[in-house]
Every structure is written in C-alpha cells, then in structure tokens.
C-alpha cells in the first residue's frame, strides 16, 4: 500500500545518524515528526497523536534514545511501548451476572457490524463457555434487520426473540427478558439498530432500553476502518450510555486501525474483541500489542530489527 510504516519513515533519519555516534536534538525532532505522520496515516486521532508525540519526545530526548547505539530502533520501541500501554492489557472477559440471565447490549453506528457480532458473541458464549443465549431483535428500522438476525439464529440453531417491526424496541427488550427467564437462557444479547451518536431521539431510545434491561455489558461496535471521527462517536456513546467495552470489526481488512487507539484514549474503555471476518466463528480476543504493531506497520518493525 501507499502508506509507509513507521520503520520505513525512519529509514532516512536513521541512515543519516548511523556512525555519527551521537544523536542531536534536531535528529530527535525529525524522528518525532515521522512518528506523528505515521500515526496520522494510521487514522489515530490528531489530538491523541499530539499527546502521544509529546510523551514520546520527552522519552526520546532523554538518555533512552539520545545515547543509544541504535536510536531508530529505540524510537520504535518507545513508540510501541506507549501505544501498547495506552491500549491496556488483554481483556476479553465477558461479565457474568449474579443472577442469570446476563444481559449484553450491542450499540453503534450504522453498518458497524452489530448484528453479525451479536451472532458471533452468541457462538463464542456457547462454544467457549457452554452457555445458551437468547438473541433479541430490537432493530425495527433497518429493512430486513429482523430477518437478518433470524437467519443467523437459524445458522447457529439458537432462539431469536422478535415482535416484528411495529413493536417498540423498549417493549421488545422487556418481553425478551421475561422469555429468557422462562426458558432459562443464561445470556441475552440485544441487537439494536444502527444510529448516529448525534441523533438524540434514537440515543434516548437506547437509554430507555438500558434502564429497562439493566445490561451487564454494553458493547460499542466500531468499524476498524473508521477515521478521525472515531473519537466523536466513542465519546458520545460513552457519555450517553456508559459503555463497558468495544468490539472492533473488519480487522481482517488492510486498515491500520488507529481508531482502536483513539477510542481507548477518549473513553478509557477496553477493546475486548476483534471481528476477523463475516463468518460466525471469526471473533477473536483483542491483543493490544499486536494492534500496536499493526498501527505502526508490523512487517516494517520486524524487518528493521532484522536489518540492525
């Protein structure tokens, strides 16, 4: 692709300083400039980049990099550490309610992958935790949304609760809870319609569903290809719903996925799972370190370390 990884970007500067014995402040400045561009090209939000670059510069101007024999590698190491730390440790655990059923609510923008991820999570819960979830069709707006969830339910041989498109999503969620209790489903996963974070009526609807079902988890589903707007979206959803975690979808693509970093930075909520395809078994725990390498252009990082 046209986008250079961080290592590529640093090549020239590294060549220039190799054999010089000492790294000047000017060299560090050049390197941090490249770090900034690499992060921006990976779609990390520019405000998040600003903070990051400031911290990286501080560490770089210190002895860690200036007095290193391999300053280029050292910068990459510092950057990678900062990114990994910002994204936090691995957290793919799903809540378990004291009294079943455990309720999970899926929310997010249009087309992010909520319905598909609802199916994937249900599959995950059954396979990995031996649970029997009930899927709930609360999207009464998108054409054939209920049909889509019912098809996934069929593929999984799992029950799907729906009341058609005339019912109110809050009522649907409420009735679904009753059925789950009767049928002894230990998890309830609620699929909601995609909506804009600035659509106050529809955001209000989510708040009402939340108040009704008292979910144990609210997952914000975010497309990994999201650009600078990821912070606005995540911040709004989190402010209005106090989400518990994030699922990053479509990571099987070739996007760098800087949105992961932006979202964590503004909400401080963990990215828990990664969607790795359209099929129902393509859900993985989220690995912060792998994500850091990816944002920086992983292949490059490895090749640079080999070259040195």
């Amino acid at each position: 692709m046209a986008f250079e990884g961080l290592a590529d970007r640093l090549q020239d500067t590294i060549k220039k300083i190799t054999g010089k014995g000492k790294v000047s402040e000017q060299d560090v400045k050049e390197m941090t400039r490249e770090v900034r561009l690499a992060l921006l090209e990976a779609d990390v939000n520019f405000k998040v980049v600003k903070d990051l670059v400031k911290r990286i510069k501080e560490r770089a101007v210190g002895q860690e990099v200036m007095e290193s024999l391999t300053p280029g590698q050292q910068v990459i190491k510092v950057v990678k550490e900062e990114l990994t730390e910002l994204m936090g440790g691995e957290q793919s655990k799903i809540a378990v309610a004291d009294r079943p059923p455990t309720v999970i609510m899926m929310v997010g923008l249009q087309g992010a992958g909520k319905t598909t991820t609802t199916g994937k999570l249900a599959n995950h819960l059954r396979k990995k935790h031996n649970r029997s979830p009930l899927l709930v069709a609360c999207d009464v707006y998108r054409p054939a949304a209920i049909n889509q969830l019912e098809t996934l339910g069929e593929q999984l041989s799992m029950p799907v609760f729906s009341m058609g498109t005339e019912a109110n999503p809050v009522d649907i969620a409420k009735k679904a809870m009753e059925q789950a209790k009767e049928e002894h489903n230990d998890y309830v996963i609620i699929d909601t319609a995609g909506r804009l974070h600035v659509d106050s009526d529809l955001m209000e609807e989510l708040e009402q569903i939340k108040a009704t079902v008292k979910p144990d988890e609210i997952f914000l589903v975010v497309d990994a290809m999201t650009g600078q707007d990821a912070v606005n979206v995540a911040e709004s959803f989190n402010e209005q719903l106090d989400i518990s975690g994030v699922v990053l979808t479509k990571l099987d693509g070739d996007t760098r996925g800087g949105a992961a970093l932006s979202i964590k930075a503004v909400t401080d909520k963990p990215v828990k799972f990664a969607g790795m395809g359209e099929k129902l078994d393509q859900l993985e725990p989220f690995h912060p370190e792998r994500m850091a390498s990816r944002i920086l252009g992983m292949g490059d990082v490895l090749s640079l370390i080999e070259k040195a």
Binding site: M1, A2, F3, L37, L40, E41, A42, D43, N45, F46, L109, Q110, G111, A112, G113, T115, Y141, R142, P143, A144, A145, N147, Q148, L149, E150, T151, L152, Q155, L196, H197, V198, D223, M225, T226, G227, Q228, D229, N232, V233, K250, D252, G253, D254, T255, R256, G258, A259, E278
Partner: protein, 304 residues
C-alpha cells in the same frame, strides 16, 4: 466562476478571524483538514504549497491568503478539469446497467434503493438485481427497498452464484424493456483476492451480455472511513474500473475528506452523497459545498 466565488465568499468569514498568516494559522488549517480525513500527505503537500505561495506573493494579511486557499483546495479536487457536477451515464433509449460495489456495511443496498427511487421519479423503468447472495437477509433487504421505490427485484436463493443472478437480471431487464438495471453486490474487503475476482467475473458477465455496459460502476464509500478509503478506491478500480463514488453517511459528524485525495490521485469523481436512511436522502455531489463543509467546525470554534 460562480461556484468558486460563493466558496470564497464563505471562506471570507473564516479568514476574517485570523489576522495574520503565521505558523498558528497553518497549524490550525492543517488540523482542520486532517480531522476531516483529508489524506495526510495531501494535507502536507497542500500546506507546503500554500506556504510557498504565500511567500512568493509576499502575503502577510490573512485576507489575501483566502484566494490562494480556495484555489488550491478546489484545485486538489478538480485538477485541471472543468468544475462541473458529474452526471450519471444513462443511455437515452437503451438499457443502462449500474454495478454497485464496496466494502461491508458502507450503504450499497440502501443507496441502490434511493437511486432507484430517483430514477423512477424521473420516469425511468428500473429493475434491481439481488447480487448479494451471501449476507444474511441481504435479498430481503433489497426487496423491501424495491417495494419502497416501487421497482421490480430479480433474485435467486441465498447462496447462489452472484454472476448467475446478474445474468438473470439482465435478461429480465431486457424483456421488460427497462431503462436502468441496478446490480447489488455483497460487501467485500478489498484485500480478499478471491472475492475481488468474483466481482470481476460479475462485471465480465455484464460486459458480455450488453455491449458498452456497465455504464456506471459506483463505488460506495462510508464518510466515516479514514485513510483506508484510498486503498478501497484503488483496489476496487483495478477489479471493476470504478466510474464514480457514492459517499454515504454524511449526515453524521464525519466529513469524508478522503474523497479529495481519491479524486486527486485516482481521478474518480464523487457523484452522489448519502444523507440519511430514507428514500429521499440521496443528493448530487457539489464539490464547493463539500469543501466549505470541511471548514464548518473551524468557523464555529472561532466564532464562539
């Protein structure tokens, strides 16, 4: 030109808030453009050019820089070409075929419903083909849009060969004397080689059945998408020779600035924008209004 003047007029307000053309000014301009997802390198080049131009013309007052900014921005989009709104390539008395492609969840099926409605309003006889046989509920979704727009939908069962569905669609469109056939396809990420080959095959079927078709290959891009949209445009173009872009979800807070870089680097024009989930929420793309939209936040912030 008229359109360019109206953009300059609005840019006036912005410039009025910055007296001096200094580093701060350029820094904020850079941030505004980056936060609108204009390609990073595009922004860097633009700012460099602006700085040079400002130096060359010895501009100090921000009032004088406004023309340079508006010139450069519109130039990025149009290059040396005429500033005009791109029309859809629809044949007058013959069947036109539109193939709609893009990654998952961007708004292909929805945009097809909206476009069918517009064409129908113009008195065209429209048929849709349900070429997404993969995603759960995709066929039913297109059928609902067909009902809303009051146009026919040609389909097969889920799981069948998309090329075969499109073939059926062409046959039906011909026998119904349709003016326009719009073909839906399954969303696919551009790095999936076999899925891109499948799409190329669909296009070949269209080419074989109707000389000169497809008359449009529309790539649907989600305005929320960042830098990856450039990679999407490149790869989908290689596979299907994209003729225009539909930029969806502009009713949100994302700006979709990456289309500037796409037009600049790949010369693919934006033809429509999606502004909501309803039948009527599709509009022709106006580059000047779009470029002005990139600055809306800057205006709000500075006027507070």
């Amino acid at each position: 030109k008229k359109t360019r003047n109206s953009f300059s007029g609005k840019l006036n307000d912005l410039i009025a808030r910055y007296r001096k053309v200094d580093e701060d000014f350029f820094e904020e301009l850079e941030e505004v453009l980056i936060s609108a997802d204009v390609g990073v390198m595009t922004v860097m080049d633009l700012i460099d050019e602006l700085k040079m131009e400002v130096k060359r013309r010895n501009i100090k007052d921000s009032k004088e820089v406004k023309d340079v900014i508006s010139e450069k921005l519109v130039e990025i989009y149009y290059g040396d070409e005429d500033e005009e709104i791109e029309e859809l390539n629809i044949q007058d008395n013959d069947l036109s075929i539109i193939l709609v492609v893009g990654v998952n969840g961007v708004g292909k099926t929805t945009s097809i419903g909206k476009l069918a409605h517009q064409l129908k309003q113009q008195g065209k006889n429209v048929v849709l083909a349900a070429g997404d046989t993969f995603r759960a509920g995709a066929i039913e979704q297109l059928e609902v849009w067909g009902e809303r727009a009051d146009v026919g939908v040609i389909k097969q069962n889920a799981g069948s060969d998309p090329a075969a569905v499109i073939f059926d669609g062409i046959k039906a469109a011909k026998s119904r004397n349709a003016d326009v056939l719009i073909c839906d396809t399954a969303g696919r990420l551009q790095n999936k080689v076999n899925l891109m080959n499948e799409l190329a095959k669909v296009k070949r079927v269209i080419e074989r059945e109707v000389p000169g078709a497809p008359h449009e290959v529309l790539l649907v891009l989600d305005a929320t998408t960042g830098q990856n949209a450039l990679s999407q445009a490149k790869t989908f173009s290689e596979a299907t020779d994209v003729s225009g872009i539909v930029l969806t979800k502009l009713d949100g807070t994302a700006k979709g600035g990456i289309v500037l870089a796409i037009r600049n680097e790949l010369n693919i024009p934006v033809k429509y924008v999606g502004l909501g989930e309803q039948l009527e929420d599709l509009q022709k793309f106006d580059a000047n209004a779009f470029v002005y939209g990139l600055f809306a936040d800057m205006l709000e912030e500075t006027s507070e």
